[in-house]
Amino acid sequence: MSIWEYANPVKFMKTSSLVLPWVTGLAAVCLVVGLYWGFFLTPEAENFKQSVKVIYVHVPSAMMAINIWVMMLVTSLIWLIRRHHVSALAAKAAAPIGLVMTFIALVTGAIWGQPMWGTWWEWDPRLTSFLILFLFYLGYIALWEAIDNPDTAADLTGVLCLVGSVFAILSRYAVNFWNQGLHQGATLSLDKEENISDVYWFPLLLCIAGFVLFFVALLLLRTRTEIRARRLKALEQRERMA
């Protein structure tokens, strides 16, 4: 029993069809309970008033935005090294989800930033690097869309993902350096989560779990669609040859 068995599309389709309803159900439960708990059953924070509730969408989506890119990097590497089609299709399926997560993080951040910092947008290092990440997602998806041959597209987007990852990290630190010292205290830093009391921490944890499961469910669904679309294409080609 190894993970590489799932490189076989048939095996992947079989297992994913079994897993998919469970993951979807669990994601729904986590999200509904976590968001309800977070939105209605937690007290207002002293400095934040009601606006603290954005955290239950903002933090999970921001985490997913970064982690989905990492997942795409891993699957691209697997495709480039071991040539498993499912892997390349999973990367293709994940990209739009990552794009939307980045967008959600930016929008909820703006909604949170308006009452807290008095501005919708600030050229803060974190915000800026998320905007750059958004651009990387756009470029990646656009390259997939532009190329007809699926194998060529998988190869080229894989190479782009590798180079893009290096430059995304580089941009992250360059941006940090570029606006250092101008917006202290304006970042949504990780230490704030340590300050956060358990009242907020547990529903947040549930929301994060919900977002992860939600992503896995969407990813499985989209990858299955991609595999079916690929099969359809192959069948059509065979028909034309005959």
């Binding site: 651009l135 390259l143 532009a146 360059a174």
Partner: protein, 218 residues
């Protein structure tokens, strides 16, 4: 490799008029900026560095799709790929040719355009240094983008979407170097970072570009 470099340079100078085009575009950008932000000298002086860097970046972008497109169309790229020279070397040479025809003229012209934008005195030296260090990275990264999109019919717009995010670190450190240099602050950190990014880009990215071309020629 030198023969290839000379061939590319000759093609760039003699055919198609792409050689002076980037420079003319740079001049137009610099001319249009005061119309957009107003002719006040102190405003222009403050944004001059950014405008010059952005202008150089866009002018560089303009000629990127020429790096491989013509050779791809007439088949000489296939010959180059099967030549005894490794494809990574070919890519590097082509990026170098692109830099000599667009990057280097921009570096040399930038101080002149700086006059138009009221660039403060001490900034000239650092502007030339930063562009000299930064533009090779722009050409090499541009060659990567061109290699990715060489097989596409209308890759131009996609090319800029792919390449511009990659330019972010170079632009940040390049502009920062000029800003610090002009105001007499410590320049070592952005100088080293800019040089490091360019050196690493030249060393590593041609492998990715060559891989992309191999995929496109398959």
């Amino acid at each position: 490799m030198i023969a290839l470099l000379l061939r590319d340079l000759r093609l760039a100078v003699r055919a198609g008029g792409g050689f002076g085009l980037g420079l003319a575009f740079f001049l137009i950008v610099v001319t249009l900026v005061p119309f957009g932000v107003g002719p006040e000298g102190n405003v222009l002086a403050r944004i001059a560095t950014g405008v010059l860097w952005l202008g150089a970046l866009l002018a560089c972008l303009l000629s990127l799709d020429r790096i491989f497109a013509l050779d791809f169309e007439d088949g000489s790229l296939d010959l180059l790929a099967t030549a005894p020279v490794p494809l990574e070397g070919v890519v590097t040479i082509k990026a170098l040719a692109h830099w000599i025809t667009t990057g280097l003229p921009l570096v040399l012209a930038a101080p002149v355009f700086g006059v138009l934008l009221h660039l403060p005195g001490p900034a000239y030296f650092w502007l030339v240094v930063s562009l000299l260090l930064g533009t090779p990275a722009l050409s090499v990264l541009g060659a990567f983008g061109a290699a990715l999109t060489v097989g596409l019919k209308r890759g131009g717009l996609l090319l800029s979407l792919l390449v511009l995010p990659l330019y972010v670190p170079t632009l940040i450190f390049g502009a920062e170097l000029v800003k610090r240099g002009a105001s007499g602050m410590d320049t070592q950190m952005p100088l080293l970072m800019l040089a490091g990014i360019t050196a690493a880009t030249i060393a590593v990215v041609p492998f990715a570009s060559a891989a992309a071309i191999r995929v496109n020629l398959r």
